[in-house]
């Protein structure tokens, strides 16, 4: 099989490509340049691309570099900033997967005659169905719920059956220079832009806001309302005393409402932009409301997820992913 292996320069995608080569596939590596990284380190930098190329050379495979900077900006970064301007907390990795890694890349791979695209994600595809990765601490199935069966038929996640330690051991055994590289953290383009505030302030106007309690009394002020996330505790200008959390952000009135931990709990969350791996699903399910959270029992009626036990509010813009056991059924984006 001709496989196009997306190689970021990190250990997971390095080993993913290596495993495919061992399986006897005809593998070509590709590194996507998604972002004009102004620093010498981090995702999309020359150093990362160089690492990917070094690994490709060690594996004896061709290596390409494709520039999707404009699409990434239009499909991921611009909507990310626009959502913040609306007081939402989007997950750009999911949009990147939807539009770039498994949109643009998968299409181009097909055009060029590749049978499949592989990445280093920790998730598993079995019989065209999507499952959590074998390492519960590294599972990335949450950010992949936007994939449908047609996509999954042409996608390989070779490291999804491994634990992270096994991935690193494999990389060491193969002598790959990426074996002991630290895991990537946070959002790639935010990290390399000097943080969320620096990135957002260059894209959208940031406004000061009032912080009020649930009774409407002003208890503090924030410099940039657009940087506040539902569930946030620090940096709300409310001083000491009882712990208070942001429970809603209203950009129209430039107000953040804070409450106690109990106020943060919600019985349900409404979803939009639903995506299903296969057929739409309703009824009892487990839902995961953040990339590193645990799944909890819930019921889905086709538009709203009702938690069996009240859960921390889901920030509008975050994805809610529906599971049955380890299987990803689909998901959607939390509305305000």
């Amino acid at each position: 099989m001709r496989v196009l292996a997306a190689m970021s320069g990190g250990v997971d995608s390095s080993v993913a490509a290596a495993l495919l080569v061992e399986e006897g596939h005809h593998v070509t590596g590709v590194t996507l340049r998604l972002w004009d990284n102004p620093t010498d380190v981090g995702c999309c930098s020359v150093a990362e691309i160089d690492d990917a190329r070094t690994v490709a050379n060690l594996l004896g495979i061709d290596h390409l570099v494709w520039t999707f900077v404009e699409e990434f900006d239009a499909r991921v970064v611009t909507p990310y900033a626009a959502a913040h301007a609306e007081g939402m907390t989007p997950n750009p990795c999911i949009e990147c997967n939807r539009h770039l890694k498994f949109g643009r890349l998968l299409r181009r791979a097909g055009q060029l005659g590749f049978d499949a695209v592989a990445t280093g994600h920790h998730a598993r595809v079995v019989d065209g169905r999507l499952f959590r990765g074998a390492d519960p601490l590294k599972d990335q199935s949450y950010v992949l719920y936007v994939l449908g069966r047609d996509d999954l038929a042409r996608i390989r996640f070779p490291v999804g059956v491994l634990r992270k330690a096994e991935v690193r051991a494999k990389a060491s055994a193969l002598g790959l220079p990426t074996a002991d590289k630290p895991d990537s953290q946070d959002v790639c383009f935010v990290t390399t832009s000097g943080g969320r505030e620096a990135l957002l302030s260059s894209r959208i106007p940031l406004h000061p806001g009032r912080v009020v309690d649930t009774a409407g009394a002003e208890v503090g002020r924030v410099d940039a309302l657009e940087l506040v996330t539902v569930g946030q505790r620090r940096g709300l200008g409310t001083g000491g005393g009882a712990k208070r959390y942001a429970i809603s952000v209203d950009t129209a009135t430039r107000t953040v409402v804070v409450g106690e931990a109990a106020d943060l709990l919600a019985p349900a969350v409404a979803l939009t932009q639903l995506c299903w791996v296969d057929q739409p699903v309703q009824g009892p399910t487990q839902v995961q409301t953040s990339a590193h959270g645990d799944a909890v029992d819930a019921d889905f009626d086709g538009s709203t997820v009702r938690f069996v036990e009240p859960q921390r509010r889901v920030a509008p813009g975050q994805s809610v992913v529906l599971y049955r056991g380890d299987e990803v059924l689909g998901g959607g984006i939390a509305t305000s």
């Binding site: 691309i49 390409l64 570099v65 181009r108 055009q111 060029l112």
Partner: protein, 362 residues
Amino acid sequence: MRLEAVEAMLPFLTERFGNPSGSHAVSREARKALDEARDTVARCLGARPAEIVFTGGGTEADNLAVLGAHAIRPGSTVCSAVEHHAVLHACDALGDNRLAPVDGNGVVDLDRLADLLDRTVSVVSVMLANNEVGSIEPLAEVAALVRERAPQAVLHTDAVQAFSWLDVAALASPADLVAVSAHKFGGPKGVGALVVRQGVKVESIIHGGGQERDRRSGTHNVAGIVAMAAAMRATVDERDATVARIRVLRDRLADGLLASVPGCAETGDRATRIAGNCHVSFEGVESEELLVLLDAAGVYASAGSACASGAVDPSHVLAAMGMSRAQAVGSLRLSLGTSTTAADVDLALEAIPAAVERLRTS
């Protein structure tokens, strides 16, 4: 590399290992070879031997020119919008660079250039031939403008891309500084030269033992320099014949693509381009995809200019020429060289239309 260059350098990698700055017999032998190479390079570039500064390649030569001249006389820099990054980024690093626009053929706009020139300018840099689209710049006219409007300024020309195709000794004669790079004309990588005309000063950017009359420190790369001189001599000897032969092939390639691929356009005017450059664009096709198919078919083309990451950067040259983003994305550069044959052109004329067709229908 050209065989002449390989053969010339081999002895200096083995038995003739001397350091030309030393005082032993073996050093004197190396010094003699270096002197002869300098004479050859000077002759090929229309300069005196003392005006030649050997460098570690074209990028270093361009940097020495821009940074070195600016260090002697600080001021604004002016360069064409289509300069190689070696010039462009060096000028940008100095903090006050003015970009001279080009026309749709990639040729610098002399009126606009004139507007940028004044007595605050210390360095002007306009290349002799562009590395992406092959446009030949009117250096004599540029020089006349510089002498008139910015008489204190030093005029540099990057002749890296030009040397294989143009009589650099004559065409670059109005410039104070001229950069060349050996690997562009069949010499080894990592060696180049800068002509620094008598009376023109550049401050060294590499400090050390004071080699090259204190303009470029570092032990001489004797083997590389000797090979560069051999490649230069061979290139100059054959240049007229090569240009005539390659021009025919290039025209057949460009005409063939224009005739056989719908939506194919040639970039700019062929008459103002060096013979080894064929630059075209294909409507509705992305060259990143085209390159993969062509590579598999044995046709090694490029898009934009290669950057360190191996990515194809959106070309600043095509943008400066006013080409739309959509057209630039579908553009392809096919370079022909001394070793290019009619069979190579036949292969390209077979592979490119097929690949474009495949991308359009898949």
